[in-house]
Symmetry: C2
Subunit: 346 residues, 2 copies
């Protein structure tokens, strides 16, 4: 029998509006033993991403919801601690989707080996993982980035937004970010090289964005919804494209905003400006995976593309970190370090 204890975070209640502590429950169970053809993985990094809020709802989302009493889902980077599987050996580093817990058994499906010499293993759930791929597919395929496009991206210092803007810069575009606090805006322009960044916390957001976009907006990468979306609309040029990746400002809404109903105005703009608004999720674009790893991996290697991680220590802090993510408190790709990273140079 295993002597390992497995701390797990379960969904305890479907959040109504902003998720509160009691919507989750931490339990301790014995870590499972791998059966024949299985492996046991110790979680090192657990990803926290805005899409998880949708999975906590009982209703429709594009991923199946988490049931009450179930372990919250998440992409994870871990190490194999025991293997009865041909393809994996003890000590291997792997990417999988083990969720908010310290250990999980797997039959190997959907588990990918990581080479710590090629890139820091944490990047497999970040810039070289789902968020980076989301940026790549959303900008290039869904957004149909074209020469000369003036690009705006919201949540610009976040895991997706930072990659969107940097790819657009590498491809020669003028790029404006929208972020929260000043230090994020400074990072976006100073470190990431965006041409400008405006704060959605400013009372003059609409004016600030207009000043930052003297030639209007040809491609708006939508991560947030809400007042940023509203500030963007009047600045969209004819034929502008809007890949809709997320709308974090609305995830915790319990009722629709007061009227008037702005849908007719929005659809009027769609018609007159011949806009293209298109929702997407990264899993529909897996055919780009090789291109993505080649391009983004290359840009990271050459120093053209930077990334920043915001690492929270300990699974007991996952809920608080997720709440912070929804409030925009993280600065860079948010991860929980669930256990020691033996590859870390620190």
């Amino acid at each position: 029998m295993s002597t390992r204890t497995n701390r797990q975070v379960l969904l305890n209640a479907h959040p109504v509006g902003f998720p509160v502590d009691t919507d989750f429950k931490m339990v301790e169970t014995p870590a499972p033993e791998p059966g024949d053809g299985e492996l046991l993985i110790r979680t090192i990094y657990q990803s926290l991403d805005p899409y998880m809020r949708g999975r906590m709802n009982p209703g429709l989302s594009y991923t199946a919801g988490v049931s009450l009493g179930e372990v919250m889902g998440a992409g994870t980077v871990g190490q194999v601690v025991a293997s009865r599987h041909d393809r994996f050996a003890e000590g291997d580093f792997v990417l999988s989707s083990n969720g908010w817990q310290e250990y999980a058994v797997s039959d190997g499906r959907g588990v990918r080996k990581l080479d710590p010499a090629a890139a820091p293993i944490s990047t497999a759930v970040g810039v070289l993982g789902m968020p980076g791929m989301t940026a790549y597919a959303g900008l290039l395929e869904v957004g149909e980035l074209k020469d000369g496009d003036n690009v705006v991206v919201s949540a610009a210092s976040g895991a997706v937004g930072a990659v969107v803007g940097q790819i657009a810069k590498i491809k020669g575009h003028r790029v404006v970010g929208v972020a929260g606090v000043q230090k994020k805006c400074d990072y976006v322009t100073g470190e990431l090289g965006f041409d400008a960044c405006v704060s959605h916390r400013s009372d003059t957001l609409a004016d600030d964005l207009q000043v930052a976009c003297p030639d209007g907006i040809d491609l708006y990468f939508e991560n947030v919804g809400g007042k940023v979306f509203e500030a963007v609309l009047p600045l969209l040029n004819d034929f502008a494209r809007m890949p809709v990746c997320g709308r974090i400002a609305n995830y915790n809404m319990t009722s629709l905003p007061e009227g008037p109903n702005e849908v007719p105005r929005l659809m009027g703009l769609v018609l007159v400006k011949r806009l293209r608004i298109r929702g997407f999720i990264v899993y529909d674009h897996v055919h780009l995976q090789d291109d993505f790893l080649r391009d983004v991996g290359g840009w990271i290697g050459s120093g053209q593309l930077k990334y920043r991680e915001d690492i929270v220590e300990g699974i007991e802090n996952a809920v608080g970190a997720f709440q912070g993510l929804l409030r925009g408190e993280n600065f860079g790709k948010l991860l929980v370090r669930v256990s020691d990273d033996p590859t870390s140079r620190a």
Copy 2:
């Protein structure tokens, strides 16, 4: 000097809401004389189309607005009555954009000769003209019609909608129309061969549409906006496409509807269902003109594609006919017969 009198309909005031008679003014002027390199055209058919409502506004539209005191614009089919132009001879039938008037002089730019033996000349502003081309480009290029798509089209008996639905039927799709009165619905299913048609005048529109679309909607061709748009939204399947061609239900709105603001709900659907909403106008798709004429011309010739015209006699009835168009009173492509059609077999 010409002895011909030219009756013209001028924009007298920018309509506020529904256009009233006094927003227009009929004047009589002497018909102009063609100068060197010019031709004089007598209007036979003048097109009336929903997009014209937008041109009456002082604000933004995708075509330049009509100024007060200016002749209202329109596509026209006419006959050359005098020519000092190399390319045109007296008696030629031509397509041009002479607007709401009986005569106009042209330098030949944008004027296209018509062959009355190839197709009834009136079709040059209808099924073989701008409305037909709008349907063709909107369905196939903008809407990206795919095998197996369940198609819904609003204003289904109209100049655009009837062609949209018939092309989709020819290509093997299940097609549901939305129209107004029962005789239009009967025409759409009985004559045009749509699989079903529901009335937007029904109190049970949303339920009726759901029953008519047991497999949901993969492509919604948007001509109307308003409550039809609202009834369609919950039925859209993942990856559904919505080419936005028009929104006649909103053209005369003077203020936005009461709240709540449904935009967040709409954008939530866009994200979760990965919808593509795309506005378009036909002039952005002229590269399809040859394909359109070959395909739609061929289908008309083979009897696979039918069309219906609603012809109003006399330019003095143009304003009333246009008002009727906005109320959905026309039945088929609306035209004004401004003067005798010598090619007519009647």
